[in-house]
């Protein structure tokens, strides 16, 4: 059973063992508007927590997506190249960005749980 965690910068992380799947939150996709392009990290790339990991482009602008935890990319979501609108349609599911192998599981403790993230969004709105 996996749990979903969130970063304050609006990425979600689902962890199974030492593998994390990362996407952007439904709130983030709504703020971005129609997604027209996603630039993903290459498998093998090393990501550092809080540093740029991907770029998501809406009609209006390009936005950075940050690595919520550190690790090595093992897979990027190839479906986003053909249909970036998956991010709008299913941000928490088929619109995932990449999977990585965690380099420091202790970082998970720094993330927000569902309730904390919901409260954060409520403040923003």
């Amino acid at each position: 059973m996996s749990t979903t965690h969130y970063a304050k910068s609006h990425e979600w992380i689902r962890i199974e063992g030492d593998i994390a799947t990362v996407g952007i939150s439904p709130y983030a996709q709504q703020q971005l508007g129609d997604v027209v392009f996603v630039e993903l990290p290459q498998p093998g790339a090393t990501l550092v927590r809080g540093k740029e990991a991907a770029v998501v482009e809406s009609v209006k602008a390009a936005s950075e997506v940050y690595a919520p935890v550190s690790g090595t990319v093992i897979e990027a979501n190839a479906a986003l190249a053909d249909d970036p609108s998956l991010v709008n349609q299913d941000a928490g599911g088929s619109g995932w960005f990449f999977k990585l192998k965690l380099s420091d599981t202790a970082e998970i403790g720094e993330l927000l749980n569902e309730d904390d993230y919901t409260a954060l969004i409520a403040e923003l709105e």
Binding site: G33, D34, V36, F37, E39, V55, E57, S58, V59, K60, A61, A62, A81, L124, E125
Partner: protein, 369 residues
């Protein structure tokens, strides 16, 4: 979010935008709708297939009057104002002595004199410029109590025809008064989308009811600034402050077509000597249309390279929903500006191949009688 910034001005349609669920952004000192709940892509596509209603009341509407108003205007713009028939519209530029562009604007010949529509961000500067140069020659009135709406798209004429059948025969770049929703409205057949359409100057007190009446029509949807930008970019139309500004000349910007034969020969506008020389000899750089080979948009500020040399910069770039991919405008060195030239765009440190194309990206569909 959700908070009202009290330093921002509101257009007469502000309450209507809120009711329609708009998302707002500050733009040129105004709190403006950037998109409605359907989103930029749907709004863009709706305008190309049906009709979109835009609130552009933040733009400056001016009236110039006086016996010498035509000559006075021609002393500040390279456009041919003297040859404008009554009710006809000219797209022209306020130029600087060094040939740079102070603003781009629409000038309409009216019974009273001239009607001007200038950009929102530049209107205060434009008014100061006009007053400094034309004081004593013309009277300048700022039409603060008028809203400006744009109804754009292939169904725009069908919608207006329902209320004012005479609109059908109005030529492109011409203007006339119509009755709409109980108000007298100045309808101008022009726009900023590449589509057939109209700009409607409406007394502010009647603006909301006229907008509501238009939105009741099945073809019409409200459109925000987001789609306004993607529509004008696909149409290859320059945005002031990005594609044209004080550092660019009309010739560099590909706007030589706005200068008539008589005005090229006679000059008599700020920067005429430089502009005439550039017309004769060409320029070092030119504004061109650029299409990246891949899917990554190249935004404003992106460097353009050929081989190991930088040759220019993107001034507007994004995604063209009708084109179905990334598009951009930018200045490149003349040697690399011809249609079909290959260039590289430096996007986040990586080179992306692109080619120079002939503008516009999406064909114009203006009304031709």
């Amino acid at each position: 979010m959700g908070l009202i910034d009290e330093n921002l001005r509101q257009t007469p349609l502000y309450a209507l935008h809120r009711e329609l669920g708009a998302k707002f952004v500050p733009f040129a000192g105004y709190d403006m709708p950037v998109q409605y709940p359907t989103g930029v892509l749907a709004e863009h596509r709706h305008t190309r297939s049906q009709a979109g209603l835009f609130d552009v009341s933040h733009m400056g509407q001016l009236r110039l009057t006086g016996a010498d108003v035509v000559g006075a205007m021609e002393s500040l713009v390279p456009g041919d104002i003297a040859s404008l028939g009554l009710g006809r519209i000219r797209y022209t530029l306020l130029t600087r002595p060094d040939g740079g562009i102070i603003d781009d604007l629409m000038v309409t010949r009216t019974t009273a004199g001239l009607g001007l529509v200038v950009n929102a961000a530049t209107k205060a500067g434009d008014i100061a410029h006009l007053e400094a140069h034309l004081k004593g020659r013309v009277r300048i009135e700022i039409l603060e109590d008028f809203a400006l709406l744009a109804l754009q798209g292939p169904a725009a004429v069908r919608v207006l025809e329902r209320f004012a059948p005479e609109i059908v025969a109005l030529p492109f770049m011409a203007s006339r008064d119509i009755r709409l929703g109980g108000a007298t409205v100045q309808a101008s057949r022009c726009g900023y989308t590449g589509e057939d359409g109209f700009e409607l100057s409406i007394p502010a007190a009647a603006a909301t009811s006229v907008a509501a009446l238009l939105l009741e029509q099945p073809e019409v949807a409200p459109i925000g600034l987001g789609a306004r930008d993607s529509l004008r970019l696909e149409a290859g139309l320059s945005l002031y402050g990005h594609d044209i500004d004080r550092s660019t000349t009309p010739i560099e910007a590909g706007l030589a077509w706005t200068i008539s034969k008589r005005r090229r020969a006679e000059g008599g506008f700020p920067g005429a000597d430089i502009i005439q020389r550039q017309l004769a000899e060409g320029t070092f750089r030119r504004l061109v249309g650029i299409v990246p080979d891949g899917k990554a948009p190249a935004r404003e500020g992106t460097e353009i390279w050929v081989g190991d040399a930088p040759v220019g910069k993107i001034t507007s770039g994004g995604f063209g929903p009708t084109k179905g991919g990334p598009i951009a405008l930018g200045y490149v060195a003349a040697a690399h500006s011809s249609v079909g030239s290959r260039v590289d765009l430096l996007v986040r440190g990586t080179r992306h191949a692109a080619r120079i194309i002939s503008l516009p990206f999406v064909p114009h569909r203006y009304f031709r009688a």
